[in-house]
């Protein structure tokens, strides 16, 4: 259980419409990721689903039941906040037990559930500590623990990993994915991070200024972005866009080619240019090439490829990986 439907939902703060009419369907058991630039309304959308904000117009249904005016706690959802929002004056055990206590469960049941959650999340040794005495990753796990024990029909995560360092982030990412695999509960996950979105999601929702630009599996979005915005947003480094004659030659206003779909050679190719910066990542190298008449293009080459700032190179795009866009920015298929 955990199907969530948004039907013509809008949200207005004062006079500013942050979410224009929006439809969205989230299937039971899905891992859905909301991505989009800062301020595009990801958190707002999540909070509307949670019930922490009132929708201005439109309807939200959870498992077929109207939930638009249901109190947050009654929606059967659990939320993990970016700041973890742990209760600083309660021990880990009390934190995890809090929603159960609020639900009025008997003490013995609470004990058991907390113990199980602690076991799953490796928190057993820390149950008596206060949040202030935990590391970032541990706090994150407590926040997840507090969400799990409620056995919600869906989990909501708002950038849960953004306060962690890079290594821990990778770990927690895996843990959350594993959790999803074992619980099979719907999860809605907001993130800025490309990699999180691509690796964790069953379905990605790309938002821009409150509008849904495209919904699809990570590979769908990567292979067939519906418009310029999605094309530019999904994939790292960003897709190169080329306008003018080259685009017209492909019967498009703009053509896009991803850095990994450009072949680089030192002796011959379609576009000539000079390397302005070479970023060596080890496994591969990103070349920022100042071309003669197409501006700066980025290309991804093998880490062994040896060029330096100032080297002269030739770029050749893989024609079948070119994306074509019309004057309105929509993809031409």
């Amino acid at each position: 259980m955990g199907e969530i439907v948004l039907d013509q939902v809008t949200k207005t703060f004062g006079h500013v419409q942050v979410i224009p009419p929006l439809d969205l369907q989230i299937e039971d058991g899905e891992f859905v990721v909301f991505v989009g630039p800062s301020g595009c309304g990801k958190s707002t959308l999540l909070r509307l689903i949670a019930g922490l904000e009132d929708v201005t117009t439109g309807e939200i249904r959870i498992d077929g039941e109207p939930a638009t005016h249901t109190a947050p706690a009654k929606r059967g959802l659990a939320m993990v906040f970016q700041s973890y929002a742990l209760y600083p004056h309660m021990s880990v055990k009390k934190n995890i037990a809090f929603p159960l206590k609020m639900a009025g469960l008997p003490q013995s049941v609470i004990e058991e559930k907390v113990e199980n959650a602690a076991k799953v999340l490796n928190l057993t040794d820390y149950l008596d500590r206060r949040p202030g005495q935990l590391s970032g990753g541990q706090r994150q796990r407590v926040a997840i623990g507090r969400a799990i024990v409620r056995e919600p029909s869906a989990f909501l995560f708002d950038e849960p990993l953004s306060n962690l360092d890079a290594a821990l982030r990778v770990n927690m990412r895996l843990e959350i994915s594993e959790l999803h695999n074992s619980l099979k509960t719907t999860m809605i996950y907001v993130t800025h991070d490309q990699v999180e979105a691509m690796t964790m999601a069953d379905k990605i929702v790309v938002l821009n200024a409150g509008r849904v630009e495209q919904v699809g599996s990570p590979l769908d979005l990567y292979n067939a972005p519906r418009n310029l915005f999605v094309a530019g947003f999904i994939g790292s480094p960003k897709m190169n866009f080329i306008e003018g004659e080259t685009a017209e030659a492909h019967r498009a206003t703009t053509v896009g080619i991803r850095p990994e779909h450009i072949a680089v050679s030192t002796d011959a190719g379609s576009w000539a240019g000079v390397v302005s910066v070479a970023e060596h990542l080890g496994s591969d190298t990103l070349l920022h090439v100042q071309t003669e008449n197409l501006g700066t293009l980025t290309a991804r080459v093998d880490g062994e490829f040896s060029v330096r700032h100032g080297s002269r190179v030739f770029l050749t795009p893989q024609e079948d990986k070119m994306h074509r866009f019309d004057a309105r920015g929509l993809a031409i298929r």
Binding site: G51, L52, E53, D54
Partner: protein
């Protein structure tokens, strides 16, 4: 948080405080304004004639008013000058590494907790008294003539007493502000070859600007209405030497029972306080981030 329901609840929870303060401001103030236009003396019952601005012209042309205005300004200005200069110096001293810093802090802050009537009486009798006061003993020990503080330098003596009470406050606030100064900034300026002197003027003092503003604001609020210290030491005298506006209005209304005249004085005090307040609120409004 921000659902319609919680917004309505929030309004409801805020309203008692707003209504009370509004009432506290408007009701008595409008009564004072009303009284200030009446010939109204508690000793002459029954006469409440409307006399226009007569109370004001009486109050404002009374030589006592100018004396009181001048005394008020001197009192506020003098105490502010002493406490801020002293407070900055003391705060810098207390910010240095030392042994027993906690105890010194406790010693320095203590006068702030002494009630004004106690502080003033102790200073008046046990220190400034020309016969039995400690200062008189000290003068005699040095072979000097004892100085009668409250007779010969009454206002300065009161400024001294009040400054003693407020110096701790200024020091504590400035010290707190000082402790939030980034150590790395000081180290950077040391690396840049700045002398301690220029470090003070270019880094420490600007950092303290906001705290100083706050000290000026808060102290001014309280210093404009210094009352108890005057009441228990000099009763405004000798002559009008230590009468400030607050004390003058008090004397007019509760000693001479002249409600009309006292009210006019009260309104003058409110207007003066507002002029000062507008300046101060401008200053601090910018400094307060909410």
């Amino acid at each position: 948080m921000a659902t319609t329901h919680s917004r309505a609840a929030a309004r409801l929870m805020l309203s008692p405080a707003v209504l009370l303060l509004l009432g506290w401001m408007i009701i008595p103030l409008s009564m004072t304004i009303y009284f200030s236009f009446l010939h109204y003396n508690l000793l002459i019952p029954g006469t409440h004639d409307f006399i226009g601005f007569a109370n004001y012209s009486y109050f404002l042309t009374d030589p006592a008013f100018f004396a009181a205005l001048f005394n008020t300004l001197l009192l506020v200005g003098g105490v502010l000058a002493i406490t801020i200069v002293g407070g900055v110096l003391l705060a810098i001293l207390l910010d240095q590494p030392m042994w027993g810093q906690g105890i010194v802090r406790i010693l320095v802050i203590a006068p702030f907790f002494v009630m004004p009537t106690v502080g003033a009486l102790v200073w008046k009798n046990m220190f400034m008294n020309p016969v039995n006061g400690l200062f008189a003993h000290m003068a005699k020990a040095l072979g000097l003539q004892p100085f009668d503080f409250l007779a010969q330098a009454p206002l300065a003596s009161i400024i001294g007493m009040v400054a003693w009470q407020w110096l701790p406050f200024a020091t504590l606030i400035l010290l707190t502000a000082l402790q939030s100064l980034d150590r790395e900034q000081l180290e950077a300026s040391e690396m840049d070859g700045a002398s301690p002197f220029s470090t003070f003027f270019y880094i420490t003092l600007p950092h303290l600007a906001r705290a100083i503003t706050v000290v000026v604001l808060i102290q001014t609020i309280f210093l404009l209405s210094v009352f108890a210290e005057i009441l228990v030491t000099t009763n405004g005298g000798p002559g009008y030497a230590t009468t400030n506006i607050t004390y003058l209005v008090y004397a007019q209304s509760l000693l001479q029972f002249d409600v009309g005249g006292g009210s006019a004085g009260g309104i003058v005090a409110v207007i003066l306080a507002n002029i000062v307040a507008i300046f101060l609120m401008r200053m601090i409004g910018k400094n307060l981030d909410i």
